[in-house]
Amino acid sequence: MKILQYNEDHDNFRMRLRRFLESEIMPYTDQWEKEHITPKWAWQKMGREGFLCTSVSEQYGGLGGDFLYSVIVAEEMTRTNHTGLASMLHSDVVVPYIQSFGTEAQKRKYLPGCVSGDIITAIAMTEPDAGSDLASMTATAEKSGDEIVLNGSKTFISNGINADLVIVAAKNPAVENPYESVSLYLVESGTPGFKKGRHLEKMGFHSQDTAEMFFTDCRIPEENRMGSDGAGFHMLMEKLQQERLMTAIGGQAAAEYMLEITQKFCRETADATGKPLSKRQAVMFALVEMATEVRLGRTFLDKLIAGHAAGEPEIVETSMAKYWITDLAKRVSQQCLDLYGDYGFTEACPIARGFRDIRVMSIFAGTNEIMKQIAGKFMGL
């Protein structure tokens, strides 16, 4: 039995995307990894072909596709073994804020560019002294006439250098309760007082630009606020669900991809006696054990995806999936490298990049410890 019902349109879309990525994107990814950034033309190409923001409705230039299109893009992007063209972040994490909470004017202004790839988006939540603890954020947004004045700094902002449009979370200092003081604002790149900081160097995600952001008396029109004043925390909480689910989907796809190529390697590589590695009992068992856990993750995830697509969000199980699957993907990256033996020393081994890239998934979108805390809380423990 199949839990997810992909139809023919989905399948065609997937094949078209896969061919596009193979011919237009994958030839460049090694270079982007070295350059530590992905050029804007790649985003635009993705957009022109209709692979960005598939869920944006047709009136704003999107496909108006269901959630399975997002899943397909996330899965196929994983197979490019690079992270720079962070379409999942853009299409399924950041832009949905505009779709859900934006005014009609904001939607008209920004969504078509998001779909076409001319506007790359980012979301600025995390601050240097507040990781998963959003309530302790210190960036401020104060009203001054018709404008909002932003002050503060953000860090670990993915797409931080490329971003043309940033959703910034900031607090109204006049409101004490942290859960009622945060609002979200749309800030365009180039706005005076908004400076992009260092391009941060990191273990992996090399083709992806992660940066600090600084706001110093940065003035934006009040109409750039999304949703009602002080509703930011709740908006974040609502959208974090999908972000976590997308992270689980990315982790699952990565685990499947790494296992697939490692299994191929073990089948096709013979040891000195001419026997394929996969016929060694210990290698076979390692592959079976990984495959088992990968399939467990997939089944659990598919059920969650089906529920999410049907509008039945599951906080406990989404938290569980995020932590368990990203940890699984990490274990798979470690164990696959073992099977490569000496081949695993260099980046020529495709798992080497996976090993570096996957490690952050247990940390971002709320650390896996936070996931367990949330699950425990909602289980009534």
């Binding site: 990191k202 040891d271 490298l337 033996g341 260099t346 490690r359 940390i363």
Partner: protein, 386 residues
């Protein structure tokens, strides 16, 4: 029984720690690693102060101490920085083969420059398809009129691109070719500047970023017949003796790498606040620290004891493999948890633990990943079957 380091050993430990603290500049490590550059200046200083080849015999200007003392240096160096520690300790990797199995002349000629910190050696054992099984070596060593000829290709040779000499594992051919049994397996020293050597950069590495990895082809490479090491046979438990020594060295590097990541994680959770409390006040954080501490403690005494036994020539292949298995798994678990404890910072280059994690994985793979080690352990523990 005296289950404690001696005073001189503690002094070596402290000297190594002080040197590493003073010389391993964090920014330098990041810069050199980024450029894949060997830390030549630090090596020179370490050589001058006697840290390189502390276990080499006095005849090669080594300190004449044991592998245990070398392990203490390895631990402290890697604790301060895993990438720098590995680079320095690999400087003379496999030079041990020369003074343990070769003539005095050979040792003086090749090992001395290593001890002085001016020369890198390379262990050219592994070939495509070997997967830890050294007995399947296909490189040949042929005698030819007072010389020997080497033919074959070695992969992922540490220091491969800038070694002044290679210690090459090969199968010695008689007039009728090799007999194929393990008694044929020998080691030969090959000068890096010999004709017929072709180097190919194995490229950017996952970890251990200051050290080059090269694929080395030997096409009819001719060296002096005296470069053949005569005593390079097997040791109890199987496998060339250097494998055991190298595995114990790697286990000490792994131990230090784990300790270094642990130190940083402990500092971090004692400083950093989340949700209005120090991270160190959360029970789960505390338990992670407890598990890391327990794991390191388990590993430390096993590594020391194994090195101690090696120095008494009592260490078999299983014990060396157990040390490597235990220590590299410890390093993987501890560095992984350190990355997690530091959260986003754990992923950032400037917070260091990210490269400890990559270096731990490199150690984990090197000289046999878990599967090869378990094969080696089982061979000894299970022994021959009826």
């Amino acid at each position: 029984m005296e289950f404690e380091l001696s005073k001189p050993q503690k002094e070596i430990q402290k000297a190594a720690r002080d040197f590493a603290k003073g010389e391993f500049d964090k920014e330098m490590v990041i810069e050199l690693s980024k450029g894949r550059k060997y830390p030549e200046n630090v090596l020179k200083k370490a050589g001058e102060l006697g840290f390189i080849g502390i276990h080499y015999p006095a005849s090669c200007e080594g300190a004449g101490m044991g592998l245990l003392e070398n392990a203490l240096v390895a631990e402290q160096f890697c604790r301060q920085d895993s990438a720098m520690g590995m680079a320095l300790l690999f400087s003379g990797f496999a030079a041990e083969c020369i003074f343990r199995f070769g003539s005095n002349e050979l040792a003086e000629k090749f090992v001395l420059p290593v001890v002085e910190g001016g020369s890198l050696s390379a262990c050219a054992f592994f070939e495509t398809g070997m997967f830890g099984n050294l007995a399947s070596v296909s490189t040949t060593i042929r005698e030819d009129n007072g010389h020997i000829l080497i033919n074959g290709e070695k992969n992922f040779v540490v220091n491969g691109m800038n070694a002044s000499f290679f210690v090459v594992l090969g199968r010695k051919e008689g007039e009728n070719g090799a007999s194929g049994d393990s008694g044929d397996v020998f080691l030969a020293v090959v000068e890096g500047d010999r004709k017929g050597i072709r180097l190919t950069d194995a490229g950017q590495t996952l970890g251990n970023n200051m050290v080059s990895f090269g694929h080395v082809r030997f096409d009819n490479v001719r060296v002096d017949a005296g470069n053949l090491l005569q005593k390079s046979g097997s040791v109890p438990g199987g496998g060339p003796a250097f494998i055991n020594e190298a595995r114990i060295q790697l286990s000490a590097m792994a131990l230090g790498t784990a300790q270094g990541a642990f130190d940083r994680a402990l500092d971090y959770i004692r400083q950093r606040e989340q949700f209005g409390r120090k991270l160190a006040r959360f029970q789960v954080t505390r338990h992670k620290i407890a598990e890391m501490a327990a794991r390191i403690e388990q590993t430390r005494w096993l590594v020391y004891r194994t090195a101690w036994k090696f120095d008494r020539k009592k260490c078999d292949a299983a014990e060396a493999a157990i040390a490597k298995l235990t220590a590299s798994k410890c390093a993987m678990a501890v560095t992984d948890e350190a990355v997690q404890l530091l959260g986003g910072y754990g992923y950032m280059t400037e917070y260091e633990v990210e490269h400890f994690y990559r270096d731990a994985k490199t150690i984990d793979i090197m000289m046999g990943s878990a599967l090869a080690l378990k094969d080696a352990i089982a061979d000894v523990v299970i022994g021959k079957l009826k």
